[in-house]
Symmetry: C2
Subunit: 303 residues, 2 copies
Protein backbone atom coordinates (compact mmCIF):
# COMPACT_ATOMS: atom_id res chain seq x y z
CA UNK A 1 0.00 0.00 0.00
CA UNK A 2 2.90 2.31 -0.50
CA UNK A 3 5.62 2.60 -3.02
CA UNK A 4 8.18 -0.18 -3.13
CA UNK A 5 11.53 0.14 -1.40
CA UNK A 6 13.41 -1.28 -4.37
CA UNK A 7 15.54 1.82 -4.51
CA UNK A 8 16.51 1.38 -0.86
CA UNK A 9 17.30 -2.29 -1.37
CA UNK A 10 19.41 -1.58 -4.42
CA UNK A 11 21.34 1.13 -2.58
CA UNK A 12 21.74 -1.19 0.41
CA UNK A 13 23.34 -3.87 -1.74
CA UNK A 14 25.57 -1.40 -3.51
CA UNK A 15 26.82 0.20 -0.32
CA UNK A 16 27.35 -3.26 1.14
CA UNK A 17 29.78 -4.08 -1.64
CA UNK A 18 31.54 -0.77 -1.03
CA UNK A 19 31.89 -1.54 2.68
CA UNK A 20 33.23 -4.99 1.81
CA UNK A 21 36.22 -3.36 0.12
CA UNK A 22 37.04 -1.23 3.19
CA UNK A 23 39.16 -2.33 6.14
CA UNK A 24 37.61 -2.47 9.62
CA UNK A 25 37.85 0.88 11.33
CA UNK A 26 37.67 2.88 8.10
CA UNK A 27 35.32 5.85 7.82
CA UNK A 28 32.70 6.33 5.13
CA UNK A 29 32.45 9.60 3.17
CA UNK A 30 29.77 12.22 3.95
CA UNK A 31 26.11 11.45 3.28
CA UNK A 32 25.93 13.77 0.30
CA UNK A 33 28.93 12.13 -1.35
CA UNK A 34 27.36 8.70 -0.85
CA UNK A 35 24.08 9.96 -2.26
CA UNK A 36 25.81 11.19 -5.39
CA UNK A 37 27.77 7.98 -5.71
CA UNK A 38 24.73 5.71 -5.35
CA UNK A 39 22.54 8.05 -7.34
CA UNK A 40 19.91 8.36 -4.64
CA UNK A 41 18.77 11.06 -2.24
CA UNK A 42 20.36 11.74 1.11
CA UNK A 43 17.21 10.48 2.79
CA UNK A 44 17.73 7.02 1.34
CA UNK A 45 21.42 7.08 2.20
CA UNK A 46 20.50 7.74 5.81
CA UNK A 47 17.98 4.91 5.74
CA UNK A 48 20.69 2.54 4.53
CA UNK A 49 23.17 3.82 7.11
CA UNK A 50 20.58 3.30 9.85
CA UNK A 51 20.03 -0.26 8.63
CA UNK A 52 23.79 -0.86 8.64
CA UNK A 53 24.07 0.55 12.13
CA UNK A 54 21.21 -1.70 13.31
CA UNK A 55 22.95 -4.68 11.76
CA UNK A 56 26.09 -3.84 13.69
CA UNK A 57 28.06 -3.20 10.53
CA UNK A 58 28.62 0.42 11.32
CA UNK A 59 29.19 2.71 14.27
CA UNK A 60 27.31 5.83 13.21
CA UNK A 61 27.66 8.91 15.35
CA UNK A 62 27.10 12.28 13.73
CA UNK A 63 29.57 12.60 10.90
CA UNK A 64 31.57 9.57 12.05
CA UNK A 65 30.64 6.40 10.14
CA UNK A 66 33.09 3.72 11.17
CA UNK A 67 33.14 0.19 9.74
CA UNK A 68 32.84 -2.29 12.63
CA UNK A 69 33.07 -5.60 10.80
CA UNK A 70 33.21 -7.07 7.30
CA UNK A 71 29.78 -7.86 5.82
CA UNK A 72 28.76 -11.51 5.61
CA UNK A 73 26.30 -13.39 3.43
CA UNK A 74 23.63 -12.86 6.08
CA UNK A 75 23.81 -9.10 5.60
CA UNK A 76 22.57 -9.35 2.05
CA UNK A 77 19.08 -8.12 1.29
CA UNK A 78 16.74 -9.92 -1.08
CA UNK A 79 15.84 -7.79 -4.08
CA UNK A 80 12.21 -8.27 -4.94
CA UNK A 81 11.55 -8.31 -8.64
CA UNK A 82 7.82 -8.65 -8.84
CA UNK A 83 7.57 -5.86 -11.34
CA UNK A 84 9.06 -5.65 -14.78
CA UNK A 85 10.82 -2.51 -15.91
CA UNK A 86 8.97 -0.46 -18.51
CA UNK A 87 11.23 -1.51 -21.37
CA UNK A 88 10.65 -5.18 -20.69
CA UNK A 89 6.92 -4.55 -20.70
CA UNK A 90 7.21 -2.91 -24.10
CA UNK A 91 9.19 -5.83 -25.45
CA UNK A 92 6.80 -8.45 -24.14
CA UNK A 93 3.68 -6.65 -25.15
CA UNK A 94 4.84 -6.11 -28.73
CA UNK A 95 5.84 -9.74 -28.95
CA UNK A 96 2.40 -10.71 -27.71
CA UNK A 97 0.65 -8.54 -30.29
CA UNK A 98 2.91 -9.39 -33.22
CA UNK A 99 2.59 -13.10 -32.66
CA UNK A 100 -1.17 -12.90 -32.96
CA UNK A 101 -1.72 -14.55 -29.61
CA UNK A 102 -4.83 -12.42 -29.58
CA UNK A 103 -7.16 -11.51 -32.40
CA UNK A 104 -7.47 -7.94 -33.60
CA UNK A 105 -10.49 -6.18 -32.21
CA UNK A 106 -10.61 -7.84 -28.80
CA UNK A 107 -11.20 -5.69 -25.72
CA UNK A 108 -8.33 -5.59 -23.26
CA UNK A 109 -8.83 -6.05 -19.55
CA UNK A 110 -6.35 -3.77 -17.85
CA UNK A 111 -6.41 -5.45 -14.46
CA UNK A 112 -5.88 -8.93 -15.88
CA UNK A 113 -3.25 -7.89 -18.38
CA UNK A 114 -1.35 -6.02 -15.71
CA UNK A 115 -1.13 -9.21 -13.70
CA UNK A 116 -0.16 -11.20 -16.76
CA UNK A 117 2.63 -8.81 -17.63
CA UNK A 118 3.69 -8.30 -14.01
CA UNK A 119 3.27 -4.56 -13.81
CA UNK A 120 1.03 -2.36 -11.68
CA UNK A 121 -2.23 -1.58 -13.47
CA UNK A 122 -1.54 2.12 -13.80
CA UNK A 123 1.73 1.38 -15.55
CA UNK A 124 -0.06 -0.73 -18.12
CA UNK A 125 -2.69 1.96 -18.51
CA UNK A 126 0.03 4.47 -19.25
CA UNK A 127 1.74 2.12 -21.62
CA UNK A 128 -1.46 1.52 -23.58
CA UNK A 129 -1.99 5.24 -23.77
CA UNK A 130 1.45 5.55 -25.34
CA UNK A 131 0.81 2.69 -27.74
CA UNK A 132 -2.41 4.27 -28.87
CA UNK A 133 -0.23 6.93 -30.48
CA UNK A 134 1.03 4.23 -32.80
CA UNK A 135 -2.43 2.90 -33.51
CA UNK A 136 -1.91 -0.60 -32.14
CA UNK A 137 -4.56 -0.10 -29.47
CA UNK A 138 -7.36 2.41 -29.02
CA UNK A 139 -9.43 3.73 -26.16
CA UNK A 140 -12.99 2.48 -26.38
CA UNK A 141 -15.74 5.10 -26.52
CA UNK A 142 -17.17 4.10 -23.15
CA UNK A 143 -14.05 3.15 -21.25
CA UNK A 144 -11.56 0.36 -21.57
CA UNK A 145 -9.16 -0.49 -24.34
CA UNK A 146 -9.38 -2.25 -27.66
CA UNK A 147 -6.60 -4.17 -29.35
CA UNK A 148 -6.52 -3.02 -32.96
CA UNK A 149 -3.77 -5.44 -33.71
CA UNK A 150 -1.12 -5.85 -36.35
CA UNK A 151 -3.28 -6.11 -39.46
CA UNK A 152 -2.23 -6.18 -43.10
CA UNK A 153 -3.35 -2.58 -43.49
CA UNK A 154 -1.22 -1.61 -40.54
CA UNK A 155 1.77 -3.37 -42.04
CA UNK A 156 1.27 -1.60 -45.37
CA UNK A 157 1.06 1.83 -43.82
CA UNK A 158 3.99 1.13 -41.56
CA UNK A 159 6.08 0.04 -44.52
CA UNK A 160 5.10 3.09 -46.49
CA UNK A 161 5.93 5.39 -43.66
CA UNK A 162 9.23 3.64 -43.21
CA UNK A 163 9.89 4.21 -46.90
CA UNK A 164 9.20 7.93 -46.59
CA UNK A 165 11.68 8.27 -43.73
CA UNK A 166 14.32 6.09 -45.30
CA UNK A 167 14.15 7.66 -48.74
CA UNK A 168 14.54 11.02 -47.08
CA UNK A 169 17.64 9.72 -45.34
CA UNK A 170 19.02 8.36 -48.62
CA UNK A 171 18.45 11.68 -50.36
CA UNK A 172 20.34 13.43 -47.56
CA UNK A 173 23.12 10.89 -47.40
CA UNK A 174 23.99 10.96 -51.08
CA UNK A 175 25.02 14.61 -50.85
CA UNK A 176 27.19 14.30 -47.75
CA UNK A 177 30.91 15.13 -48.20
CA UNK A 178 33.50 12.36 -48.41
CA UNK A 179 34.80 13.40 -45.00
CA UNK A 180 31.57 12.37 -43.33
CA UNK A 181 32.00 9.22 -41.18
CA UNK A 182 29.03 7.55 -42.87
CA UNK A 183 31.19 6.62 -45.89
CA UNK A 184 33.63 4.62 -43.81
CA UNK A 185 30.72 3.03 -42.03
CA UNK A 186 29.21 2.01 -45.38
CA UNK A 187 32.52 0.56 -46.58
CA UNK A 188 32.70 -1.55 -43.41
CA UNK A 189 29.11 -2.67 -43.89
CA UNK A 190 29.79 -3.54 -47.52
CA UNK A 191 32.60 -5.82 -46.43
CA UNK A 192 30.39 -7.49 -43.81
CA UNK A 193 27.71 -8.06 -46.42
CA UNK A 194 30.17 -9.63 -48.83
CA UNK A 195 31.53 -11.82 -46.04
CA UNK A 196 28.09 -13.06 -45.12
CA UNK A 197 27.16 -13.59 -48.77
CA UNK A 198 30.07 -16.02 -49.10
CA UNK A 199 28.82 -18.20 -46.25
CA UNK A 200 25.09 -17.57 -46.55
CA UNK A 201 24.17 -21.26 -46.80
CA UNK A 202 25.35 -21.87 -43.28
CA UNK A 203 25.00 -18.54 -41.49
CA UNK A 204 21.83 -17.03 -42.88
CA UNK A 205 20.69 -16.40 -39.32
CA UNK A 206 23.37 -13.76 -38.97
CA UNK A 207 21.57 -11.51 -41.39
CA UNK A 208 19.02 -10.00 -38.99
CA UNK A 209 21.52 -7.98 -36.90
CA UNK A 210 23.37 -6.94 -40.06
CA UNK A 211 20.11 -5.74 -41.58
CA UNK A 212 19.40 -3.65 -38.53
CA UNK A 213 22.90 -2.20 -38.58
CA UNK A 214 22.56 -1.30 -42.24
CA UNK A 215 19.25 0.49 -41.92
CA UNK A 216 20.37 2.15 -38.73
CA UNK A 217 23.47 3.50 -40.43
CA UNK A 218 21.45 4.98 -43.27
CA UNK A 219 18.80 6.60 -41.11
CA UNK A 220 21.31 7.87 -38.59
CA UNK A 221 22.36 10.67 -40.95
CA UNK A 222 19.05 12.41 -40.23
CA UNK A 223 19.27 14.00 -36.81
CA UNK A 224 15.66 14.53 -35.93
CA UNK A 225 13.91 13.50 -32.74
CA UNK A 226 10.62 12.74 -34.47
CA UNK A 227 12.24 10.58 -37.06
CA UNK A 228 14.21 8.78 -34.36
CA UNK A 229 11.10 8.25 -32.28
CA UNK A 230 9.31 6.50 -35.08
CA UNK A 231 12.37 4.69 -36.27
CA UNK A 232 12.46 3.04 -32.86
CA UNK A 233 9.00 1.57 -33.25
CA UNK A 234 9.54 0.60 -36.85
CA UNK A 235 12.76 -1.19 -36.01
CA UNK A 236 11.09 -2.96 -33.12
CA UNK A 237 8.19 -4.21 -35.19
CA UNK A 238 10.27 -5.32 -38.14
CA UNK A 239 12.73 -6.95 -35.76
CA UNK A 240 10.14 -9.08 -33.96
CA UNK A 241 8.52 -9.97 -37.17
CA UNK A 242 11.74 -11.19 -38.74
CA UNK A 243 12.49 -13.27 -35.70
CA UNK A 244 9.19 -14.94 -35.93
CA UNK A 245 8.74 -15.62 -39.64
CA UNK A 246 11.17 -18.34 -40.65
CA UNK A 247 9.82 -19.27 -44.06
CA UNK A 248 12.18 -18.80 -46.98
CA UNK A 249 14.64 -17.24 -44.60
CA UNK A 250 17.79 -18.20 -46.48
CA UNK A 251 16.47 -17.14 -49.85
CA UNK A 252 15.02 -13.94 -48.49
CA UNK A 253 18.22 -12.92 -46.75
CA UNK A 254 20.34 -13.66 -49.78
CA UNK A 255 18.19 -11.36 -51.90
CA UNK A 256 18.28 -8.65 -49.26
CA UNK A 257 22.07 -8.73 -49.13
CA UNK A 258 22.22 -8.14 -52.88
CA UNK A 259 19.82 -5.24 -52.55
CA UNK A 260 21.81 -3.71 -49.70
CA UNK A 261 24.99 -3.88 -51.76
CA UNK A 262 23.21 -2.25 -54.70
CA UNK A 263 22.10 0.60 -52.44
CA UNK A 264 25.64 1.18 -51.18
CA UNK A 265 26.97 1.33 -54.73
CA UNK A 266 24.25 3.72 -55.83
CA UNK A 267 24.95 5.95 -52.84
CA UNK A 268 28.61 6.11 -53.75
CA UNK A 269 27.77 7.15 -57.31
CA UNK A 270 26.34 10.39 -55.93
CA UNK A 271 23.30 10.08 -58.16
CA UNK A 272 20.31 10.95 -55.98
CA UNK A 273 17.71 9.45 -58.30
CA UNK A 274 19.60 6.19 -58.71
CA UNK A 275 20.18 5.86 -54.97
CA UNK A 276 16.54 6.61 -54.19
CA UNK A 277 15.44 4.04 -56.77
CA UNK A 278 17.73 1.34 -55.34
CA UNK A 279 16.45 2.04 -51.83
CA UNK A 280 12.84 2.11 -53.01
CA UNK A 281 13.29 -1.27 -54.67
CA UNK A 282 14.59 -2.78 -51.45
CA UNK A 283 11.80 -1.25 -49.39
CA UNK A 284 9.25 -2.66 -51.81
CA UNK A 285 10.68 -6.18 -51.37
CA UNK A 286 10.69 -5.71 -47.63
CA UNK A 287 7.06 -4.69 -47.66
CA UNK A 288 6.09 -7.65 -49.80
CA UNK A 289 7.88 -10.04 -47.47
CA UNK A 290 6.07 -8.61 -44.49
CA UNK A 291 2.71 -8.87 -46.23
CA UNK A 292 3.31 -12.38 -47.49
CA UNK A 293 4.17 -13.61 -44.02
CA UNK A 294 1.08 -11.89 -42.64
CA UNK A 295 -1.14 -13.60 -45.19
CA UNK A 296 0.32 -17.03 -44.59
CA UNK A 297 0.00 -16.55 -40.87
CA UNK A 298 -3.64 -15.55 -41.25
CA UNK A 299 -4.24 -18.85 -43.06
CA UNK A 300 -2.56 -20.78 -40.28
CA UNK A 301 -4.62 -18.99 -37.66
CA UNK A 302 -7.83 -19.77 -39.51
CA UNK A 303 -7.06 -23.37 -40.29
Amino acid sequence: MARTDDRFRLAYQELLSVVATLPIGADLPPELALADQLNISRTTVRAVLTAFSDAGLLEWQGRKKTVLRAPTAKDRLAIRDEYLPREELERRFLKWVLRFDVAAGTPLNVAKLAKEFSVPPHVLQEFLSGLSQFGLVARRPRGGWLLLGFTAEYAIELSEFRAVLELNAVRTLVHLPQSHPIWDRLTALEKQHNDLAARIDRDFHDFSPLDEAFHHAITSVVQNRFVKQFQKVITLIFHYHYQWDKRMERHRNEAAIREHLAIIQALRSGDETAAAEAAAAHLRTSKETLLASLRSNALIAEG
Copy 2:
Protein backbone atom coordinates in the same frame (compact mmCIF):
# COMPACT_ATOMS: atom_id res chain seq x y z
CA MET B 1 -14.07 8.37 -3.61
CA ALA B 2 -15.55 6.69 -6.61
CA ARG B 3 -15.96 7.52 -10.23
CA THR B 4 -18.14 10.46 -11.13
CA ASP B 5 -21.74 10.00 -12.20
CA ASP B 6 -21.42 12.42 -15.08
CA ARG B 7 -22.60 9.80 -17.50
CA PHE B 8 -25.69 9.20 -15.39
CA ARG B 9 -26.39 12.92 -15.13
CA LEU B 10 -26.00 13.43 -18.85
CA ALA B 11 -28.33 10.53 -19.60
CA TYR B 12 -30.79 11.86 -17.03
CA GLN B 13 -30.93 15.23 -18.75
CA GLU B 14 -31.26 13.70 -22.17
CA LEU B 15 -34.07 11.39 -21.19
CA LEU B 16 -35.79 14.26 -19.42
CA SER B 17 -35.98 16.18 -22.68
CA VAL B 18 -37.34 13.07 -24.39
CA VAL B 19 -40.06 12.71 -21.74
CA ALA B 20 -40.91 16.39 -22.17
CA THR B 21 -41.95 15.71 -25.75
CA LEU B 22 -44.30 12.87 -24.77
CA PRO B 23 -47.92 13.26 -23.68
CA ILE B 24 -48.97 12.15 -20.19
CA GLY B 25 -49.85 8.48 -20.16
CA ALA B 26 -47.44 7.55 -22.96
CA ASP B 27 -45.12 4.57 -22.56
CA LEU B 28 -41.34 4.62 -22.96
CA PRO B 29 -39.53 2.09 -25.18
CA PRO B 30 -37.67 -0.93 -23.72
CA GLU B 31 -34.56 -0.42 -21.65
CA LEU B 32 -32.26 -1.69 -24.35
CA ALA B 33 -33.71 0.70 -26.92
CA LEU B 34 -33.20 3.60 -24.51
CA ALA B 35 -29.67 2.44 -23.82
CA ASP B 36 -28.86 2.45 -27.51
CA GLN B 37 -30.51 5.79 -27.99
CA LEU B 38 -28.66 7.46 -25.11
CA ASN B 39 -25.45 5.61 -25.86
CA ILE B 40 -25.12 4.17 -22.38
CA SER B 41 -25.47 0.77 -20.77
CA ARG B 42 -28.73 -0.70 -19.60
CA THR B 43 -27.55 -0.38 -16.02
CA THR B 44 -27.40 3.36 -16.33
CA VAL B 45 -30.75 3.49 -18.08
CA ARG B 46 -32.26 1.67 -15.15
CA ALA B 47 -30.63 4.06 -12.72
CA VAL B 48 -32.19 6.97 -14.57
CA LEU B 49 -35.58 5.27 -14.71
CA THR B 50 -35.40 4.63 -10.96
CA ALA B 51 -34.60 8.29 -10.38
CA PHE B 52 -37.54 9.30 -12.59
CA SER B 53 -39.81 6.95 -10.71
CA ASP B 54 -38.63 8.37 -7.37
CA ALA B 55 -39.31 11.86 -8.66
CA GLY B 56 -42.86 10.86 -9.54
CA LEU B 57 -42.29 11.44 -13.22
CA LEU B 58 -42.83 7.84 -14.13
CA GLU B 59 -44.90 4.85 -13.12
CA TRP B 60 -42.43 2.01 -13.63
CA GLN B 61 -43.72 -1.52 -13.27
CA GLY B 62 -41.90 -4.28 -15.13
CA ARG B 63 -41.93 -3.39 -18.79
CA LYS B 64 -44.56 -0.68 -18.33
CA LYS B 65 -42.96 2.81 -18.11
CA THR B 66 -45.83 5.31 -18.13
CA VAL B 67 -45.31 9.07 -18.07
CA LEU B 68 -47.21 10.49 -15.04
CA ARG B 69 -46.58 14.23 -15.50
CA ALA B 70 -44.63 16.69 -17.63
CA PRO B 71 -41.15 17.48 -16.28
CA THR B 72 -40.64 20.88 -14.64
CA ALA B 73 -37.60 23.04 -14.06
CA LYS B 74 -37.18 21.41 -10.64
CA ASP B 75 -36.58 18.03 -12.23
CA ARG B 76 -33.42 19.19 -13.89
CA LEU B 77 -30.13 17.85 -12.61
CA ALA B 78 -27.06 20.01 -12.30
CA ILE B 79 -24.21 18.76 -14.49
CA ARG B 80 -20.99 19.03 -12.59
CA ASP B 81 -18.13 20.02 -14.82
CA GLU B 82 -15.21 19.82 -12.47
CA TYR B 83 -13.21 17.81 -14.92
CA LEU B 84 -12.14 18.77 -18.39
CA PRO B 85 -12.43 16.31 -21.25
CA ARG B 86 -9.14 14.93 -22.52
CA GLU B 87 -9.13 17.02 -25.68
CA GLU B 88 -9.54 20.22 -23.75
CA LEU B 89 -6.61 19.23 -21.55
CA GLU B 90 -4.47 18.71 -24.64
CA ARG B 91 -5.44 22.11 -25.99
CA ARG B 92 -4.77 23.93 -22.73
CA PHE B 93 -1.54 22.19 -21.98
CA LEU B 94 -0.08 22.89 -25.40
CA LYS B 95 -1.13 26.49 -25.10
CA TRP B 96 0.58 26.67 -21.73
CA VAL B 97 3.81 25.19 -23.08
CA LEU B 98 3.87 27.13 -26.33
CA ARG B 99 3.30 30.44 -24.61
CA PHE B 100 6.37 29.92 -22.47
CA ASP B 101 4.43 30.37 -19.26
CA VAL B 102 7.04 28.00 -17.91
CA ALA B 103 10.73 27.75 -18.68
CA ALA B 104 12.16 24.71 -20.42
CA GLY B 105 13.76 22.28 -18.01
CA THR B 106 11.46 22.80 -15.04
CA PRO B 107 10.20 19.78 -13.13
CA LEU B 108 6.45 19.26 -13.27
CA ASN B 109 4.39 18.56 -10.20
CA VAL B 110 1.70 16.13 -11.27
CA ALA B 111 -0.62 16.72 -8.33
CA LYS B 112 -0.52 20.49 -8.63
CA LEU B 113 -0.78 20.53 -12.40
CA ALA B 114 -3.72 18.15 -12.29
CA LYS B 115 -5.54 20.61 -10.06
CA GLU B 116 -4.53 23.53 -12.23
CA PHE B 117 -5.81 21.85 -15.36
CA SER B 118 -8.87 20.39 -13.63
CA VAL B 119 -8.26 16.73 -14.35
CA PRO B 120 -7.68 13.74 -12.07
CA PRO B 121 -3.97 13.16 -11.47
CA HIS B 122 -3.83 9.85 -13.29
CA VAL B 123 -5.29 11.46 -16.39
CA LEU B 124 -2.53 14.03 -16.40
CA GLN B 125 0.02 11.29 -15.82
CA GLU B 126 -1.28 9.44 -18.85
CA PHE B 127 -1.33 12.59 -20.89
CA LEU B 128 2.29 13.38 -20.03
CA SER B 129 3.24 9.86 -20.98
CA GLY B 130 1.68 10.46 -24.37
CA LEU B 131 3.37 13.81 -24.77
CA SER B 132 6.73 12.28 -24.00
CA GLN B 133 6.40 10.51 -27.34
CA PHE B 134 6.61 13.91 -28.97
CA GLY B 135 9.52 14.98 -26.85
CA LEU B 136 7.87 17.92 -25.14
CA VAL B 137 8.22 16.34 -21.71
CA ALA B 138 10.34 13.52 -20.32
CA ARG B 139 10.23 11.20 -17.35
CA ARG B 140 12.91 12.10 -14.83
CA PRO B 141 15.43 9.40 -13.89
CA ARG B 142 14.26 9.24 -10.28
CA GLY B 143 10.55 9.81 -10.72
CA GLY B 144 8.46 12.75 -11.75
CA TRP B 145 8.36 14.66 -14.99
CA LEU B 146 10.44 17.31 -16.67
CA LEU B 147 9.20 19.93 -19.08
CA LEU B 148 11.60 19.95 -22.01
CA GLY B 149 9.70 22.79 -23.57
CA PHE B 150 9.33 24.28 -26.98
CA THR B 151 12.91 25.24 -27.71
CA ALA B 152 14.45 26.56 -30.92
CA GLU B 153 15.95 23.14 -31.60
CA TYR B 154 12.58 21.55 -31.17
CA ALA B 155 11.05 24.03 -33.60
CA ILE B 156 13.76 23.32 -36.18
CA GLU B 157 13.33 19.58 -36.00
CA LEU B 158 9.57 19.89 -36.07
CA SER B 159 9.77 22.07 -39.16
CA GLU B 160 12.11 19.67 -40.86
CA PHE B 161 9.93 16.72 -40.10
CA ARG B 162 6.93 18.63 -41.36
CA ALA B 163 8.86 19.31 -44.56
CA VAL B 164 9.61 15.61 -45.03
CA LEU B 165 5.95 14.70 -44.73
CA GLU B 166 4.69 17.54 -46.86
CA LEU B 167 7.20 17.09 -49.66
CA ASN B 168 6.25 13.45 -49.78
CA ALA B 169 2.62 14.51 -50.13
CA VAL B 170 3.51 16.94 -52.92
CA ARG B 171 5.46 14.27 -54.79
CA THR B 172 2.43 11.97 -54.57
CA LEU B 173 -0.08 14.64 -55.45
CA VAL B 174 1.64 15.79 -58.63
CA HIS B 175 1.12 12.40 -60.25
CA LEU B 176 -2.54 12.00 -59.36
CA PRO B 177 -4.96 11.77 -62.31
CA GLN B 178 -7.10 14.74 -63.29
CA SER B 179 -10.17 12.88 -62.06
CA HIS B 180 -8.92 12.96 -58.47
CA PRO B 181 -10.98 15.33 -56.28
CA ILE B 182 -7.85 17.09 -55.06
CA TRP B 183 -7.64 19.13 -58.27
CA ASP B 184 -11.07 20.67 -57.80
CA ARG B 185 -10.19 21.30 -54.18
CA LEU B 186 -7.02 23.10 -55.25
CA THR B 187 -8.91 25.22 -57.76
CA ALA B 188 -11.33 26.26 -55.03
CA LEU B 189 -8.44 27.07 -52.70
CA GLU B 190 -6.72 29.07 -55.42
CA LYS B 191 -9.81 31.22 -55.78
CA GLN B 192 -10.01 31.74 -52.01
CA HIS B 193 -6.38 32.76 -51.92
CA ASN B 194 -6.88 35.27 -54.74
CA ASP B 195 -9.95 36.66 -53.00
CA LEU B 196 -8.07 37.14 -49.76
CA ALA B 197 -5.08 38.65 -51.55
CA ALA B 198 -7.36 41.38 -52.92
CA ARG B 199 -8.51 42.42 -49.44
CA ILE B 200 -5.42 41.48 -47.45
CA ASP B 201 -5.00 44.96 -45.92
CA ARG B 202 -8.24 44.58 -44.05
CA ASP B 203 -8.73 40.85 -43.57
CA PHE B 204 -5.26 39.48 -42.95
CA HIS B 205 -6.61 37.65 -39.90
CA ASP B 206 -8.56 35.38 -42.21
CA PHE B 207 -5.37 33.78 -43.43
CA SER B 208 -4.81 31.35 -40.56
CA PRO B 209 -7.81 29.08 -41.32
CA LEU B 210 -7.05 29.28 -45.04
CA ASP B 211 -3.46 28.24 -44.37
CA GLU B 212 -4.64 25.24 -42.41
CA ALA B 213 -7.11 24.30 -45.14
CA PHE B 214 -4.37 24.53 -47.77
CA HIS B 215 -1.87 22.35 -45.94
CA HIS B 216 -4.57 19.94 -44.93
CA ALA B 217 -5.68 19.53 -48.55
CA ILE B 218 -2.13 18.77 -49.68
CA THR B 219 -1.33 16.28 -46.95
CA SER B 220 -4.72 14.60 -47.21
CA VAL B 221 -3.65 12.79 -50.38
CA VAL B 222 -1.41 10.56 -48.26
CA GLN B 223 -3.59 8.03 -46.49
CA ASN B 224 -1.33 6.85 -43.70
CA ARG B 225 -2.18 6.63 -40.03
CA PHE B 226 1.34 7.50 -38.90
CA VAL B 227 1.50 10.54 -41.11
CA LYS B 228 -1.91 11.64 -39.91
CA GLN B 229 -0.95 11.12 -36.29
CA PHE B 230 2.00 13.43 -36.57
CA GLN B 231 0.25 15.86 -38.82
CA LYS B 232 -2.21 16.39 -35.98
CA VAL B 233 0.49 17.49 -33.59
CA ILE B 234 2.29 19.57 -36.17
CA THR B 235 -0.90 21.39 -37.11
CA LEU B 236 -1.69 21.98 -33.46
CA ILE B 237 1.69 23.45 -32.67
CA PHE B 238 1.87 25.64 -35.74
CA HIS B 239 -1.71 26.72 -35.15
CA TYR B 240 -1.15 27.91 -31.59
CA HIS B 241 2.02 29.54 -32.54
CA TYR B 242 0.43 31.52 -35.35
CA GLN B 243 -2.35 32.63 -33.08
CA TRP B 244 0.09 33.94 -30.60
CA ASP B 245 2.76 35.65 -32.69
CA LYS B 246 1.22 38.79 -34.11
CA ARG B 247 4.33 40.58 -35.35
CA MET B 248 4.48 41.31 -39.06
CA GLU B 249 1.26 39.39 -39.44
CA ARG B 250 -0.03 41.24 -42.50
CA HIS B 251 3.26 41.11 -44.36
CA ARG B 252 3.87 37.50 -43.44
CA ASN B 253 0.45 36.39 -44.59
CA GLU B 254 0.69 38.24 -47.86
CA ALA B 255 3.95 36.48 -48.67
CA ALA B 256 2.51 33.12 -47.70
CA ILE B 257 -0.46 33.60 -50.01
CA ARG B 258 1.91 34.20 -52.92
CA GLU B 259 3.86 31.08 -52.04
CA HIS B 260 0.72 28.98 -51.79
CA LEU B 261 -0.40 30.14 -55.23
CA ALA B 262 3.01 29.30 -56.64
CA ILE B 263 2.75 25.78 -55.21
CA ILE B 264 -0.68 25.26 -56.76
CA GLN B 265 0.61 26.34 -60.17
CA ALA B 266 3.67 24.12 -59.92
CA LEU B 267 1.47 21.16 -58.94
CA ARG B 268 -0.72 21.72 -61.99
CA SER B 269 2.33 21.72 -64.27
CA GLY B 270 2.90 18.07 -63.37
CA ASP B 271 6.61 18.72 -62.89
CA GLU B 272 7.58 16.90 -59.71
CA THR B 273 10.86 18.73 -59.21
CA ALA B 274 9.31 22.14 -59.72
CA ALA B 275 6.43 21.36 -57.36
CA ALA B 276 8.78 20.03 -54.70
CA GLU B 277 10.95 23.11 -55.02
CA ALA B 278 7.99 25.47 -54.66
CA ALA B 279 6.79 23.60 -51.59
CA ALA B 280 10.28 23.48 -50.11
CA ALA B 281 10.63 27.24 -50.53
CA HIS B 282 7.40 27.83 -48.65
CA LEU B 283 8.38 25.45 -45.87
CA ARG B 284 11.69 27.25 -45.50
CA THR B 285 9.91 30.57 -45.04
CA SER B 286 7.57 28.97 -42.56
CA LYS B 287 10.46 27.59 -40.56
CA GLU B 288 12.23 30.96 -40.53
CA THR B 289 9.09 32.69 -39.32
CA LEU B 290 8.73 30.21 -36.49
CA LEU B 291 12.36 30.62 -35.47
CA ALA B 292 12.28 34.40 -35.69
CA SER B 293 9.27 34.57 -33.43
CA LEU B 294 10.94 32.20 -31.00
CA ARG B 295 14.04 34.37 -30.84
CA SER B 296 12.11 37.58 -30.31
CA ASN B 297 10.06 35.92 -27.63
CA ALA B 298 13.18 34.72 -25.85
CA LEU B 299 14.36 38.34 -25.76
CA ILE B 300 11.06 39.47 -24.30
CA ALA B 301 11.17 36.75 -21.68
CA GLU B 302 14.68 37.73 -20.66
CA GLY B 303 14.09 41.49 -20.60
